[in-house]
Amino acid sequence: MMATYLEFIQQNEERDGVRFSWNLWPSSRLEATRMVVPLACLLTPLKDRPDLPPVQYEPVFCSRPTCKAVLNPLCQVDYQAKLWACNFCFQRNQFPPSYAGISEVNQPAELMPQFSTIEYVVQRGPRSPLIFLYVVDTCLEEDDLQALKESLQMSLSLLPLEALVGLITFGRMVQVHELSCEGISKSYVFRGTKDLTAKQIQDMLGLSKPAMPMQQTRPAQPQEHPFVSSRFLQPIHKIDMTLTDLLGELQRDPWPVTQGKRPLRSTGVALSIAVGLLEGTFPNTGARIMLFTGGPPTQGPGLVVGDELKVPIRSWHDIEKDNARFMKKATKHYEMLANRAATNGHCIDIYACALDQTGLLEMKCCTNLTGGHMVMGDSFNTSLFKQTFQRIFSKDFNGDFRMAFGATLEVKTSRELKVSGAIGPCVSLNMKGPCVSENELGVGGTSQWKICGLDPTSTLGIYFEVVNQHNAPVPQGSRGAIQFVTQYQHSSTLKRIRVTTIARNWADVQSQLQLIEAAFDQEAAAVLMARLGVFRAESEEGPDVLRWLDRQLIRLCQKFGQYNKEDPTSFRLSDAFSLYPQFMFHLRRSPFLQVFNNSPDESSYYRHHFARQDLTQSLIMIQPILYSYSFHGPPEPVLLDSSSILADRILLMDTFFQIVIYLGETIAQWQKAGYQDMPEYENFKHLLQAPLDDAQEILQARFPMPRYVHTEHGGSQARFLLSKVNPSQTHNNLYAWGQETGAPILTDDVSLQVFMDHLKKLAVSSAC
């Protein structure tokens, strides 16, 4: 059974990009509630499907206006009558004329079971160009700016020739560069301190007048965009040289910065103008605003910190003390921008490279709500930034960019289910409908979400509610179904629709608890619960969230553990649940919930990525992976535990954000002694090289590029490793254990062992 389910889960994930917390669905609301972990799934809407060529026609929709579900393999088809019945609303629909030749033996792809996920290419309608609007901070150090300029110039060469690009630079002022002119470079300049409405911005950029015909005709004549539309966004093939030169001539912000001051940086206005510009020229067309900033906004709307250096930027401490003067206002500003951008289908990336914080906390919504990227680094002149940035423009097996724009995700459910919400890089489209639950989890109250920017790994957590009443059991053997319809603008500029329709069996909890248990996907459940926790953490106090998580865990153990009351030692969990507590243990320690030792910006950064990565990556984030390299055998994963830190091992830890290679004490000594350079110790050389190669492999694939740390026993950067491992040995218990191995961690944190002991105690207690 187990193996079956694992296979089933894996198969489903590969085919549909979906992982459900429960693969058998409890058939009544009451039972579902008692399952603790909600019925939910992780959906990767654009999961890479090299094996799935898109069909070149449009989907057939259910004719019921409130349904509009797409024809799928679960529908009952009357080939004689050329009718099909919607499996969601049971509406009977005529096939369109083009389906006249349909028969049992001549089925369209969307009716075949293996096409539970299918992608349609919409041929008609506008071909929207890709739009990239660079928003560049010029308050940078010279070498930083130089590096950034090079990266930007490089990026131009990666863009398709038809792509429209625009450039906004900012410092004390904000400059919108006009790219069409020759000879003299022209830019529109805005005061960095003044908040402008979209209309004002468009007026000032001279977009208003020509805009009226343009906006109306846009849908009809998209082809004209590059020509008719604004002088600020031009196809790259026309202005490649101009823009390259322009970037080359870009100077640091010329306004003097006196000692003891931060440069005046008008990030808020710059973003506002970028949003306004696109809003005025390309509403409802996919576009990417890429903000490159080297420090916190210091003036105007969106100001995060004043320009006095003696006043440091807010810390968690300040925030907890309600001492962050500008935070609320700034956050509001950026939220407003993010919502406007999202409404128009534009996504915002933030590339923040600075040693200090840059205000990601306030600006995070810009990326989080629009599906943009958030990249944080120390400097633009690092490979971390350069390679990450380059990776934005990577292409898939078809030579298409791994990015999609302006997607809407619509969820349809069978009657027994309703959708409670979603957590991921999306905003609600506020589409009320029959399948929208009143109980919200994450972003709820809607059956449609907008995801302005997404890539093949973008993953949403979608939460459902079983609404079937206990006294109205579903028919035996019937299945519940969910359809995900993702309409998006493909990087090839065509609109596409990907439809995934899945179905799961209903199960009666009373009689089939075993089966349901077995169908539990603890990995998915851990990530889904973690997303809920992180989502709550954005708005609630940290301890409350932890308490909530603990309670959920205990309840789950109570529900599914096997134990004798009041006897912790008797506690057992089945295999399907065995890893779950451990995930929770590490989640509690993770930077997503713990802000200690993290700046607000870092927390925002971590949470940002956590809320959009797929299951595998998310798990790595929750519980980093630790590999051990030694002469004792081939590389092997080892426990993320202090006991794994041994002198004769090389450890490779992947936390998603960091790749840490740690040389054990002995290895480090050997390396210092130079054994690796002696021919007779070539094996040592190989040993040293092995983790490097593996790390490289990870580095190559991951976005954003992780911080690469190479350290050794006693090295200062070993802290990256030490802070992650389970502190099974600490200065408190080291001698008690008296083990021959391991490295004591100087911490008062509880170890997994202690955590589990407590958990068992609480689970078996009848008190709660």
Binding site: M173, K186, Y188, V189, F190, P256
Partner: protein, 1118 residues
């Protein structure tokens, strides 16, 4: 002239000793005459008039006629008016009748003859004749005045008289003059006529006074009309006191009928007299008695001179007609009326010429307190010996009443027209720069006056007493110096601040904004690139010009100008340019946020020209291309200035904005304007709104500009109404200039614009200036006129100040002044030079104080007075209905003259108009002010023109207002005859009076007023002349409205063109030439500038106005 002189003499004699005095005034020589002197002094020029009045009655009498005419023209006098005008000349012939009168006066000299002569001429026109005679008398007197002094000395009464008319300066020569040339002329002219009238008039006048009052009274006077007969009455206006106006007096004249009879015959003789006048300007005045006969012969030609076909006939008619009761053609009134002989009334031309002759040769040495400088029209050198040159400061009076009561009585405004940075001729050294090191300039501790030659060192040099507030100050050790036996410091002559009237101090950091030495200033060129500007080719032209012009920024002696430059273009948004030298291409930065203007860049906006030359050139090449296809017609304005000001602020320097603007700023932005031009408002109480700014935005903006030292020069190129009143506010308040080129077209206006631009860019400017005028205790500067801003009551703040700008300052008493110590003025100007040096320029001027009104009147300067009054009036129109303003002016003028008449003139008949010698031109000039476009707009004058002129006059100096209000009219064909090269002769070139009568259809004239330049071609000008100048065969082939004379290689062409060039060189603005043909449509335009004539817009003729004025005076006196 001669006639006048003669008369005067007589008059003087009549006055006996008094005359001698009058003459004496100038030199003091008069003292010689004894008791008289005092009086004479008081009157000076006036003296002449006075005499004229009292004695001259005859001469004046003649003028009266003319005035009468004028007044008639307007009111019931109509008859007179017409007749007068024409008759004027003829009237001169009348003299005969006056002879009798003259005799009494002139008995000594041949006066009898001359006077009669004058009278006769006038006589004919009867009433008018009198007036004219009077007027003439006035003129004469004016002339006289100068003469008197000399005469007083050497010549004795008789001679003096003669001299007066002739050459006043040189008493000796004068004497000769009168006898020689002058006499004849003067005689011929009005004098004779005048006298008769006087006599008769006086009595009449007294009785008639009412009539005198003007039109209104006339009615009653109807009787008078016939007065034509009563010319005698007219005479009232004695030559002495230019008071010719008395037209009404004429009515009295009616009584004079007697004279009339004779007059007619006289006319013929008079005519010749006129000619003479024209030539000499004062013709009439000169021809005293003897000549008379001869002059008359000349008269015929004179008649012809009026040349202008039309005018001629009437004129002739009058004279003739008068004798023969009436001309059929003329309306009855006209016929009957006689006008005052224009030649008999004071002639500006004559006065100017006399002053030139008398005072140009010797340098004006400023060592003596209270000296009246030569007229602005005279070319003289100045030697600074302790007082500021009149080029820097001119006063309305150099003798200030000791008490405010006196001052109030006289009503003579006490004002100084100060031009702190005036350009000096090459022969005169610019002020020395004194560096007192770190301690800075030495000042009085109490009143903060700067060290100057009038400071009194005491206690062996250890202390000094402030000459302004009497405070005793310690002399700092480093400044100590011993005193010589006279109490002067031994080093007085080594120190400019102790020996000169004008000098500069280097300012220390204490005198700088924020206690930081200033940076060099910057020039920002801000160019309208809206559709209009592009279409007319303006932008291309300007950019092309700037490329070379930037090499000529003011350098102040340095090898390279320290001034930085920046460029902005704009329509409804602004484009800033980064022209940093390191750039390959300029960068344009657009600022659309006009509601909240700011400067988008710092580095690279204001650059050194030579460093960034390549980028600037590239920019100037590209600007016309970038906007070549623009469709944008809307512009903004206030944000442009704001931007420039902010740029200077960001760069922490002062500077100047050069704005090139084309249209009413209607784009949505602060300072947006609407078209509010409404001619219907003219002559209503709301007319003033046309001169007021539409919105308060500009006032605020100007204030900010001044605080930053941002001066704004505005070049306007409007096709229609642009609301100059509002747009020019900031330039005005920041000490900038406004240039206006209506309907600009490159072909036609290029030269003018470029010339103005070049001059404007190259001229030396002081920035971020503060001017303070300190005075001796007793008077105080209370009011200021000019282009500046004041945030308190004492400091004149000037964002920029150049050598063309003046500030007129009015003083009032707040205590008694002391006759002994006089009154001191110290004008201190703190400014930043073009090179970025902070300096203080100090001008000191010592004036006399008097307890006798006569002294005041004898030391007045009418040109300065007019400058003040014009500015006063032009400011008044902002707040009061124009009628009120005009009335105020007239009333004040009447009060001034009445006060003189009452207190200084020797007793005479009330019908006589008596003018002080120094002020005998006051009526004519005042009339010009009253007739100016601002105060009495013609139908073709736009609201913008008026605002423009109003604004211009506000900063004009005395020379500019002088020629602006009374244009220079130069006959050219005569030029050909002259031997001097035109350039040499320009200043001396004999001008003729600005009246159509003076135009001969056989001649060509140049007319200029500092803004306009006309070449008037008479219809019967010789073909050869036409060929030489225009290269066309005949008059009819000359293109009317031509603005350039062909370059031809013949002496006449060269001379004329040379003359035009030299005229232009004299003026701050390039005058565009307009060729006007006689009888052509354009002539209407031209005629507006013939200010002695009645204007189409209703402005009175000189003669009429004089009568009017006389009436006013009489009213005051009665």
């Amino acid at each position: 002239m001669p006639t006048w002189q003669k008369e005067w003499p007589r008059l003087e004699r009549g006055g006996g000793t008094s005359w001698g005095d009058t003459t004496a005034p100038t030199t003091q020589i008069g003292t010689g005459s004894g008791a008289w002197e005092p009086k004479t002094l008081g009157t000076k020029a006036n003296l002449d008039l006075e005499p004229g009045m009292s004695r001259a009655p005859p001469s004046s009498g003649a003028p009266p006629t003319s005035t009468a005419q004028a007044s008639c023209g307007q009111a019931g006098y109509g008859q007179f008016g017409q007749g007068d005008i024409q008759n004027g000349p003829s009237s001169s012939t009348v003299p005969t009748p006056r002879l009798p009168g003259s005799q009494p006066f002139g008995s000594p000299l041949a006066p009898a003859v001359s006077q009669p002569a004058v009278l006769q001429p006038y006589g004919p026109p009867p009433t008018s004749a009198q007036v004219t005679a009077q007027l003439a008398g006035m003129q004469i007197s004016g002339a006289m005045a100068p003469a008197p002094p000399p005469s007083g000395l050497g010549y004795g009464p008789p001679t003096s008289l003669a001299s007066a008319s002739g050459s006043f300066p040189n008493s000796g020569p004068y004497g000769s003059y009168p006898q020689g040339q002058a006499p004849p002329i003067s005689q011929t002219q009005g004098h004779p006529g005048v006298q008769p009238p006087q006599r008769s008039a006086p009595p009449l006048a007294s009785s008639f006074k009412p009539p005198a009052s003007g039109g209104p009274r006339m009615p009653s006077m109807t009787g008078p009309l016939p007065p034509g007969q009563g010319f005698g009455g007219v005479p009232i206006s004695h030559p002495n006191h230019v008071s010719s106006p008395l037209p009404q007096a004429l009515p009295p004249g009616t009584q004079m009928t007697g004279p009339q009879g004779p007059l007619p015959p006289m006319h013929s003789p008079q005519q010749p007299g006129y000619q003479l006048q024209q030539n000499g300007s004062f013709g009439p005045g000169r021809g005293p008695q003897p000549n008379y006969g001869s002059p008359y012969p000349g008269a015929p030609t004179f008649g012809s001179q009026p040349g202008p076909p039309q005018p001629l006939p009437p004129k002739r008619l009058d004279p003739d007609a008068i004798p023969s009761p009436q001309l059929n053609e003329l309306p009855p009134q006209q016929k009957t009326r006689h006008r005052i002989d224009p030649d008999a009334i004071p002639s500006p031309i004559q006065v100017i010429e006399d002053d030139r002759n008398n005072r140009a040769s010797e340098p004006f040495v400023t060592g003596i307190r209270g000296q009246v400088p030569p007229l602005v029209t005279t070319n003289f050198l100045v030697k600074d010996q302790g007082n500021a040159s009149p080029r820097y400061i001119r006063c309305t009076s150099y003798n200030i009443p000791c008490t405010s009561d006196m001052a109030k009585q006289a009503q003579v405004p006490l004002a100084a027209v100060i031009k702190p940075l005036a350009r000096l001729p090459q022969e005169e050294a610019s002020p020395y720069v004194v560096d007192h090191g770190e301690s800075g300039p030495l000042r009085c501790n109490r009143c903060k006056a700067y060290m100057c030659p009038f400071m009194q060192f005491i206690e062996g040099g250890r202390r000094f007493q402030c000459c302004f507030c009497s405070c005793i100050n310690d002399v700092p050790p480093q400044y100590f110096q011993h005193l010589d036996h006279t109490g002067r410091r031994v080093d007085a002559y080594d120190r400019p601040e102790l020996s000169l009237g004008s000098y500069e101090f280097l300012a220390t950091v204490d005198y700088c904004k924020n206690n930081k030495l200033p940076s060099p200033p910057a020039f920002i060129f801000m160019i309208d690139v809206s559709y209009n500007a592009i279409r007319t080719g303006l932008v291309r032209l300007l950019c092309e010009e700037l490329k070379s012009l930037l090499d000529y920024l003011p350098r102040e002696g340095a090898e390279e100008s320290a001034i930085h430059v920046g460029f902005v273009t704009y329509n409804k948004v602004l484009h800033f340019y980064n022209v940093k030298s390191s750039l390959a291409q300029p960068q344009m930065m657009v600022v659309s946020d006009v509601a909240d203007m700011f400067v988008p860049l710092l580095d690279g906006f204001l650059v050194n020209v030579s460093e960034s030359r390549a980028v600037i050139t590239s920019l100037l090449d590209q600007i016309p291309e970038i906007f070549a296809d623009t469709r944008e017609t809307e512009t903004v304005f206030a944000p442009v200035i704001q931007a420039g000001m902010e740029a200077l602020k960001a760069a922490e320097c002062a500077g100047k904005l050069f704005l090139f603007h084309t249209s009413l700023p209607i784009a949505e932005a602060p300072g947006k304007l609407k078209n509010r031009d409404d001619r219907k408002l003219i002559n209503t109480d709301k007319e003033k709104t046309l001169f007021q700014p539409q919105t308060g935005v500009y006032q605020t903006l100007a204030k900010e500009c001044v605080a930053q030292g941002c001066c704004v020069d505005l070049f306007l190129f409007p096709n229609q109404y642009v609301d100059v009143a509002t747009l020019s506010l900031v330039p005005q308040l920041t000490g900038g200039s406004v240039y206006k080129y209506a309907c600009f077209q490159v072909e036609n206006d290029q030269e003018r614009f470029l010339s103005d631009l070049r001059r404007d860019v190259q001229k030396v400017v002081g920035f971020d200036a503060v001017m303070r005028v300190r005075t001796s205790t007793g008077i105080r500067a209370i009011d200021f006129f000019g282009g500046f801003y004041m945030s308190n009551t004492t400091d004149v703040e000037l964002a920029g100040l150049d050598g063309d700008k003046t500030v007129t300052v009015e003083f009032k008493h707040d205590d008694r002044l002391n006759e002994e110590s006089g009154a001191l003025l110290q004008c201190a100007l703190l400014y930043t030079s073009c090179a970025g040096q902070r300096r203080l320029r100090i001008h000191n001027l010592a004036l006399n104080c008097c307890t006798q009104l006569a002294d005041l009147y004898r030391n007045c300067e009418t040109d300065t007075l007019i400058n003040y009054m014009a500015k006063f009036a032009y400011r008044g129109v902002l707040n009061s209905p124009i009628k009120t303003v005009r009335d105020t002016l007239i009333t004040q003028c009447a009060q001034i003259l009445a006060c003189y008449r009452k207190n200084c003139a020797s007793p005479s008949s009330a019908g006589q108009l008596i003018l002080p010698e120094c002020m005998k031109l006051l009526p004519v000039y005042l009339n010009c002010v009253l007739k100016s476009d601002v105060l009495q707009p013609g139908a073709e004058v736009t609201t913008d023109d008026r605002a423009y002129v109003r604004q211009l006059v506000t900063s004009m100096d005395v020379a500019e207002t002088n020629v602006f209000f009374y244009p220079r009219l130069l006959p050219l064909v005569r030029l050909r005859i002259g031997t001097k090269s035109p350039i040499e002769s320009t200043t001396e070139l004999p001008a003729v009076r600005a009246s159509e009568e003076r135009l001969s259809s056989g001649d060509i004239y140049l007319l200029e007023n500092g803004l306009n330049l006309f070449l008037w071609v008479g219809a019967s000008v010789q073909q050869g002349v036409v060929q030489s100048l225009f290269s066309v065969a005949s008059f009819s082939q000359i293109t009317s409205g031509l603005s350039v004379l062909p370059v031809l290689d013949n002496p006449l062409s060269k001379k004329v063109r040379g003359l035009i060039d030299s005229l232009r060189a004299q003026r701050a603005r390039y005058m565009k030439l307009i060729v006007v043909k006689q009888e052509d449509k354009l002539e209407m335009l031209f005629k507006n500038f013939l200010v002695e004539d009645k204007s189409l817009s209703g402005g009175e003729s000189y003669v009429d106005f004089l009568c009017h004025m006389h009436k006013e005076i009489r009213q005051l006196l009665s």
